[in-house]
């Protein structure tokens, strides 16, 4: 029997593991290797440069800018889609009429491509006839003309808002799943005992949603680290790199400047950041499991 099982394990696993190993795991380790070289993307010859690429990272002004922007993006990702998603979930969980239609509306952006989302929001920010400037013009009575995506002060935030619009639906459904697990009787008892709505939310609902919060926050942070397509469409990292992120910087150095060795070094840093976040996530998940599981 054991021999039978072993045969089938190998027979069934070899293809998926082969594909995963060859096209995901092996490239991952290769990235580490290339990060110590000066490969330019074309030449067969390249040389080993030791820690030069990592030393360059430490002094690269654009890298620093991208790192700061990625951090801003992450913090905004924790606040915006999470808070909005929680609010929507709470509103929808209250047996309101048409909850299913509302849910679909808030969820719809998730199935759109980042390219489309980027385009839609580029139009909202369009200086001449964009929705945002039109609304401001009508509210103030003066012709308002501001190029949101072309100004270093607002470019990054404008993209983050567009991105949050798309991500909120995801946070919402995860919170909704968490909310349905909270027994109605419990809230009823609290009400009978005289707990105010705020107390019920703060002391009962929110603590019981802790597992969902861990998932939502982790997902938002991880997705913010992947933020590339929408940025590429809306600002391309500009103006003057003011909306560059690490993912964008890595792409630019590797595929625009063809500094693939240096790009690999950036991707190694990106990998380590992701690894740290995922480690933290699994630890929190286990902690929450112990308390509420």
């Amino acid at each position: 029997m054991e021999q039978h099982n072993r045969f089938w394990r190998i027979a069934l696993l070899s293809l998926p593991l082969g594909v995963f190993g060859l096209f995901v795991i092996w490239p991952l380790f290769s990235s580490f290797y290339y990060s110590f070289t000066n490969w330019n993307g074309f030449d067969a010859n390249y040389s080993y440069v030791g820690f030069d690429n990592f030393a360059k990272i430490a002094t690269d002004r654009l890298f620093l800018q991208a790192a700061v922007n990625t951090t801003i993006w992450m913090i905004a990702a924790i606040v915006l889609p999470t808070a909005l998603g929680l609010m929507l979930a709470l509103l929808l969980d209250s047996r309101v009429a048409g909850a299913r239609v509302f849910k679909s509306i808030f969820y719809l952006p998730i199935c759109l491509s980042a390219v489309i989302v980027g385009q839609i929001w580029t139009w909202i920010y369009q200086p001449d006839w964009g929705l945002l400037n039109t609304v401001i013009t009508q509210a103030t009575g003066e012709k308002f003309k501001y190029a949101w995506l072309a100004k270093p002060d607002t470019a990054l935030w404008s993209v983050i808002v567009a991105w949050s619009w798309q991500q909120t639906g995801l946070s919402m459904v995860i919170y909704l799943a968490g909310l349905t697990a909270i027994p109605g009787d419990l809230l009823e008892v609290c009400e009978i005992e005289g707990a105010s709505p705020w107390q019920r939310f703060r002391r009962v609902v929110l603590p019981l949603l802790a597992p969902s919060t861990v998932v939502v926050v982790a997902l938002s942070v991880i997705n913010s680290l992947k933020g590339f397509d929408i940025l590429y469409i809306m600002t391309g990292g500009g103006p003057f790199n003011s909306s560059d992120t690490l993912a964008m910087h890595m792409y630019n150095e590797s595929f625009k400047k063809y500094l693939m060795g240096y790009g690999s070094a950036i991707s190694v840093v990106l990998f380590l950041i992701a690894l740290a976040i995922i480690g933290l996530y699994f630890r929190q998940l286990r902690k929450v499991d112990r308390i509420y599981g």
């Binding site: 072993r6 089938w8 394990r9 027979a11 069934l12 696993l13 293809l15 998926p16 593991l17 594909v19 995963f20 096209f23 995901v24 990235s31 290339y34 993307g41 929507l88 509103l91 969980d93 047996r95 309101v96 009429a97 509302f102 679909s104 808030f106 969820y107 719809l108 952006p109 199935c111 759109l112 491509s113 390219v115 489309i116 839609i120 139009w123 001449d128 006839w129 929705l131 619009w165 459904v173 995860i174 109605g184 009823e188 009400e191 609902v205 969902s212 998932v215 997902l219 991880i222 397509d229 993912a247 890595m250 792409y251 590797s254 595929f255 790009g263 991707s267 990106l270 990998f271 995922i278």
Partner: protein, 282 residues
């Protein structure tokens, strides 16, 4: 008794909640409505600041322009040629591995499973350069092959996760009985377990189709000539051609999103289930 009473949820003010939701829904829909409106307006109307007002008449010229453009046909065909095989392959491979993890566990199989699932969380930039070099060496740059292959491989984490979790709910007694009857593991998988797993397959098919259809990064890296581009890259390419033809751009976005919108409309249940399952279990 408890069933007959309406459950008290966290809702002190039902009318207020409904109003707030309506306002939020309108705000949320605005961007999408803008694209819809633009697609039925002339460029002249839009550049005169008429995009966000109700349309005076239905203008279909943008759609005839988009649907009559041979480049759009090619982008669509390329996207289908990538999306369909990559979806099928990733789910098939996910089912094979998921079956072993659920029904034939071995020492270290849980760790291996975790390593695969963790792949879901890493930014794709981490493997960009080596994959470019690999496919460049194989002479496959500027073909659709690398896009298909990479999507098949990167789909594995979610597919393995979902299939293993679903297979785990199929009773072991079923497999043992079939084996007693003389069935091979392959027959158990294809004749017994998979037919029971149609919901999981539906979830994965909707998720994978949507993600791969919408993808931008991999075709950007691996394809170069216009004849090999997929639709999402195509939209960006055509921006030059229709630089201020906003209405045509709107119609193009709409047409490009149509397949995923249809999938969302008809399989929303599976879609949402997949998103939450993937997120929560991961």
């Amino acid at each position: 008794m408890a069933d007959t009473l309406p459950r008290t949820r966290f809702n002190p003010w039902p009318a207020t909640v409904f109003t707030v939701l309506c306002v939020l829904a309108v705000l949320f829909l605005l961007p999408t409505v803008g694209v819809l409106l633009s697609s039925i307006k002339t460029t002249r109307e839009i550049s005169m600041g008429q995009l966000w007002s109700a349309p005076a008449s239905l203008f279909l010229g943008n759609f005839t322009e988009v649907l009559g453009n041979p480049a759009v046909h090619r982008y669509f065909l390329n996207t289908l040629l990538v999306t369909l095989p990559a979806t099928a392959v990733s789910i098939t491979l996910g089912a094979l591995a998921g079956y072993v993890f659920a029904k034939l566990p071995f020492r270290g199989s849980n760790a291996l499973f975790l390593v695969i699932v963790a792949g879901m969380f890493f930014p794709p930039q981490v493997i960009l350069v080596p994959l470019f070099r690999l496919f460049n060496g194989l002479g496959l740059i500027d073909t659709l092959w690398p896009v298909i292959i990479v999507h098949s491989a990167l789909g594995l984490p979610i597919c393995v996760l979902m299939m293993r979790n679903f297979f785990a709910t199929v009773p072991n007694a079923l497999r043992e009985a079939a084996i007693m009857e003389g069935a091979s593991e392959w027959q158990v998988l294809t004749r017994v377990v998979l037919p029971l797993s149609l919901p999981a397959l539906a979830v994965l098919a909707t998720l994978q189709f949507t993600w791969i259809w919408n993808d931008f990064l991999w075709p950007l890296i691996f394809t170069q000539s216009d004849t090999k581009r997929t639709i999402m890259i195509g939209i960006v390419n055509l921006k030059g051609q229709y630089s201020v033809a906003w209405g045509v751009q709107g119609a193009l976005s709409l047409v490009a999103s149509l397949p995923t919108l249809l999938v969302f409309l008809f399989f929303q249940r599976f879609f949402i289930k997949g998103m939450t399952m993937g997120a929560v279990k991961g």
